[in-house]
């Protein structure tokens, strides 16, 4: 084991920027920030207690009866307590005790819980059985009575209290850490580390721990607040360390020595306020940290926003037999303080009844953005900057949410990429399809629902007795068929299929393609088939739109695209294809990578990778040229050949 020589993985090699970026994303959470500063104030008070306190610790101003439970005055801002001591002074010193207990006890429970969770989750088997059953037993025993018994039996010193709270407070941490460890352990990079020959210890320290750490941090914050509460409870029932007066003890003394009966509210409210302040700050901080560290909670970017539409008079649908017509559509992603990312620019295409158009492009070329924009499902940062989408002569881009909802699913539906994994595992496939029908046609007669679901399933080649089955009883190909059945639920005219076969085997892919082809012939469906694979669409589509970096590279009839491509990108893509008729031929690949949409090259977006690029390509963006009817090419070379 040579792990000593490697740097700790939790700290990136650029720690400054790592911390900085962490702080930047953390400060976006308002709750987290409030909690953080509240805690900073509490720690400040505790650390500088001797400087802040108006009186010396434990010093009574006098021992006269009159001085007991004095109301707040200029000498004693928060009054005096049962011993004539200044409440504010005790409150400030109490912060020290409470925070000390909180931090040290939490440290103990996090270490125990973390080790138990990691070991149980990583090694499994006997270790897991033993540790987790032990944890279960600890969870069953009520914490507080046990703490009371132990503290009562031992001498109630501050360190005893810390120790007892610490060793009783680790159970939640152990469980949470174990489940996170199990999740990380099953990831492929752990298998790869094993394949390299890394030892278990190495994998645990280098690969598991860094990914469990965020959860541990959140747990630590919560453990601190729990420990402070526990200490206050113990002190309140009189088991605190008399030499270290905490907020809980202040409450205990005030409560036990008649503060209530003489109406000395300040002696109770002030320490209570301290406890609430610290626990609240830790809870808020924990929430903020969790939002930053646990990406699963970060879902705001998935919420559908309403794109801002620039209304523009003019364009009208040209032909009447066209079902869907997209005219010069541009979509920008806008972010605060950044130039808009031009994700999609100036895309036009038409779709007639029963037609199948292939939309081809590499990942990140904007094809999914374009499809989402058709149904106005863009995330809130995505805005339709220009262009029109006509469906049956109506412009979808100016419709409001209610109007577009009538179009969605019942007229245009989508089969999302990887949608087959989006089925709810605890409900039967039939129920889920039925639900989709009712959602869009609430008046659908209930007694006919099952018949309709069976009909849909048979349409996509699934025997209707599978209606009662759960998704896990379906294979990948069958789930994809079920998703297509769901998309067909309301008899749409157009189906958008976003990479419907990408994760499937070649044979299943062939089956799904055959299905889509039959469906469009049988039902007259128009299909937009989105894919990165030129080969897949060659066999069944009528037209192909090749996109590159958000713009049209080439748009033409299928035969033209494959046999007379004009755009260098289309030509290169075709060459990258293995040709089975010439198996010995070396594959050519397109050097470089697609542009990032927030960092587009000047001039033609393909120029940096283009084998035919010349000077002008690096400075001027090419216009769309039409070398012949129904053939559009976004390349300077096409202009010359006109």
């Amino acid at each position: 084991m040579q792990i000593t020589t490697s740097p700790t993985p939790a700290v990136p090699s650029r720690p400054a920027s790592g911390l900085l970026s962490f702080w930047r994303s953390f400060s976006r959470s308002r709750t987290g920030l409030i909690g953080f500063w509240m805690l900073v104030i509490a720690i400040f008070v505790a650390v500088f207690a001797p400087l802040l306190a108006p009186y010396e610790r434990g010093a009574s101003t006098s021992v006269q009866i009159d001085d007991i439970y004095q109301p707040p005055s200029s000498a004693h801002w928060f009054g005096t307590d049962d011993a004539g001591q200044d409440v504010l002074t005790n409150f400030i010193y109490g912060a020290r005790v409470s925070l000390t207990v909180g931090f040290f006890a939490a440290f103990i429970s996090i270490v125990i819980g973390g080790v138990f969770g990691l070991v149980a989750g990583f090694f499994g088997g006997r270790w897991e059985n033993f540790l987790m059953r032990f944890t279960d037993i600890m969870l069953v025993i009520p914490d507080l009575p046990l703490t009371v018994v132990i503290v009562a039996l031992t001498k109630p010193s501050l360190w005893n209290i810390i120790f007892v709270i610490g060793i009783l407070g680790w159970t939640t941490t152990a469980r949470v850490v174990r489940s996170q460890t199990l999740a990380v352990k099953s990831r492929k990079f752990v298998l790869r580390a094993r394949a390299i020959g890394a030892s278990k210890f190495h994998i645990l320290v280098q690969h598991i721990l860094p990914l469990v750490l965020p959860i541990l941090v959140v747990q630590a914050v919560l453990a601190i607040s729990l420990a402070i509460l526990n200490e206050s409870t113990l002190s309140f029932i009189g088991l605190g360390d008399p030499s270290a007066p905490s907020w809980g003890q202040m409450l205990n003394f005030a409560f036990g020595r008649g503060a209530m009966s003489v109406g000395a509210w300040w002696a109770l409210v002030v320490p209570g306020f301290g406890i609430v302040w610290v626990v609240l700050s830790l809870t808020l901080l924990g929430q903020g940290l969790e939002q930053v560290l646990n990406p699963r909670l970060d879902t705001h970017h998935l919420m559908a926003g309403r794109p801002v539409v620039q209304k523009e008079a003019g364009a009208k649908p040209i032909q009447s037999d066209v079902l869907l017509e997209v005219q010069n559509l541009s979509i920008h992603y806008v972010g605060e303080g950044k130039a808009p990312a031009r994700a999609v620019e100036n895309i036009s295409f038409t779709l007639r009844e029963g037609e199948l158009i292939g939309l081809v492009g590499e990942s990140g070329c904007g094809k999914t953005t374009l499809m989402l924009a058709l149904l106005k499902l863009l995330p809130s940062a995505g805005q339709i900057a220009n262009g029109k989408v006509f469906y049956n002569g109506n412009d979808l881009t100016v419709m409001d949410e209610e109007e577009i909802n009538k179009i969605r699913w019942s007229n245009i539906s989508i089969v999302f990429q990887g949608a087959m994994n989006a089925l709810n595992p605890v409900r039967t496939v039939g129920e889920q399809i039925g639900e989709a029908i009712l959602k869009h046609e609430p008046s659908f007669p209930k007694d006919k629902l099952n018949a309709r679901v069976s009909e849909l399933l048979e349409l996509v080649g699934i025997a209707s007795d599978h209606r009662e089955h759960f998704p896990h009883q379906y294979s990948g190909g069958m789930r994809q068929r079920a998703m297509i059945a769901m998309a067909l639920a309301c008899n749409p005219k157009v189906i958008i299929a976003d990479e419907p076969t990408t994760a499937l085997d070649v044979m299943i892919q062939a089956q799904i393609l055959e299905l889509l082809d039959t469906l469009r012939k049988k039902l007259g469906l128009a299909v937009i088939f989105v894919t990165h694979d030129l080969g897949v669409v060659a066999e069944l589509c009528d037209k192909v739109l090749v996109m590159y970096g958000g713009v049209t590279a080439e748009y033409a009839e299928v035969d033209v695209i494959y046999n007379e491509p004009k755009h260098p990108y289309t030509q290169e893509l075709l060459k990258a294809f293995p040709d089975l008729t010439k198996p010995k031929k070396k594959l050519s690949s397109i050097p470089g990578y697609p542009p990032r949409l927030d960092n587009l090259p000047a001039g033609c977006r393909f120029a940096p990778r283009c084998p035919a690029a010349f000077e002008r390509c690096h400075t001027d963006e090419p216009a769309l040229h039409a070398p012949q009817k129904d053939h559009i090419v976004g390349c300077h070379l096409a202009e010359a050949s006109k």
């Binding site: 990079f189 020959g197 085997d505 046999n563 293995p578 089975l580 198996p583 010995k584 690949s589």
Partner: protein
């Protein structure tokens, strides 16, 4: 190091892997088994490329894990450089782990998101205690990265996986394998998650490595189309068995097994003028818990005859290098 290419340096004999799948009922005695790999024999020569082709569930990935020692075989033997490596513990296998490396399917999942590229590629050296000094290690890392096409290496060293594209990540995985100077790379679907335009690039890279570094490659894929130009031999797997094996040209141009023929026919051809008859098999690979009787392919086979239900065909030798397991195949 330069041995003749006919040397058998990895030999697999009758390899089987059954996973327990629980009992059919609480009162039943016999447990059910998933027959993931059900008797595979194969030899690999030095710097040879074998493509292992089949649908998901055919056992090709399990076979890869067995060879890596990441799963323990139920039966059979694996011999590497005249040493039986079938059942070795992690300690005994450590040196082998250096010689046999694996590249996984999903470059998004197979890199630790908290490590920099430099840490990822250096890690195997540290695990194996290779490289005498920090400086030597750095040189090896740079060489491996540049061999894997990450040029210049300095640009990538301090980046994190999420800052790279899919193709670049797969290159990082390959670099992390190369840094140990392996003799065999087992590549499990290394391109299926990548865009078509980048696939060619990764395949070309593996093909170059095999020539420049004399590395043998076991290329596991479901796509017969992608094995074309660089595989020496192709083995087609169905339900845990090899049903056809031969040189690349024999399998692609004169396929004999009906399953191979079907797989070949569904490969998309990027030319609408070449639209051809496709043999689309209905249904999916049967559940490997209940292997069909007789020929395991007969329920889906378009040309099955009655005899296929009864007898499990053995491999028929068609040429010196070409074998297929089908009753209808005869040695002409």
């Amino acid at each position: 190091m330069m041995n003749t290419s006919t040397e058998k340096f990895l030999e697999i004999r009758g390899l089987k892997k059954y996973f327990e799948a629980g009992r059919p009922s609480l009162f039943s005695r016999d447990t059910k088994h998933v027959h993931a790999v059900d008797g595979v024999s194969l030899t690999l020569r030095r710097s040879e490329v074998i493509a292992l082709v089949g649908e998901s569930g055919c056992g090709k990935s399990t076979l890869g894990l067995l060879l890596m020692g990441l799963e323990d075989p139920t039966e059979g033997t694996v011999i590497f450089e005249e040493q039986d490596i079938t059942h070795l513990n992690d300690h005994q296998r450590k040196d082998l782990r250096r010689k046999i490396q694996m590249v996984f399917q999903d470059p998004y999942e197979s890199l630790n998101p908290t490590q920099t590229i430099e840490e990822i590629v250096t890690e195997p050296l540290i695990v194996h205690g290779m490289g005498a000094s920090q400086q030597e290690r750095e040189e090896r890392v740079k060489k491996a990265m540049e061999d894997a096409g990450l040029k210049p290496a300095e640009v990538y060293l301090s980046r994190y996986p999420h800052e790279l594209s899919g193709g670049q990540r797969q290159r990082v995985v390959i670099a992390a394998a190369l840094v140990l100077e392996p003799e065999i790379i087992i590549a499990d679907e290394p391109v299926s998650m990548l865009d078509v335009s980048i696939r060619a690039e990764v395949i070309n890279l593996l093909a170059e490595l095999r020539i420049s570094r004399q590395i043998a490659v076991i290329f596991i894929t479901h796509d017969l189309g992608s094995v074309g130009f660089f595989a020496d031999r192709v083995a087609v797997m169905y339900l845990g068995r090899i049903v056809e094996i031969g040189t690349m040209l024999e399998v692609l141009e004169k396929p004999q097994h009906p399953y191979t023929k079907a797989l070949l026919s569904v490969i998309p051809v990027p030319n609408p003028r070449l639209r051809h008859e496709r043999i689309i098999l209905q249904g999916e690979t049967p559940n490997p818990i209940n292997i069909p009787t007789g020929c395991r392919f007969h329920p889906r086979c378009p040309v099955a005859i009655d005899a296929c239900k009864l007898s499990d065909p053995a491999m028929t030798q068609l040429s010196k290098s070409h074998q297929a397991a089908c009753l209808l195949v005869t040695n002409k």
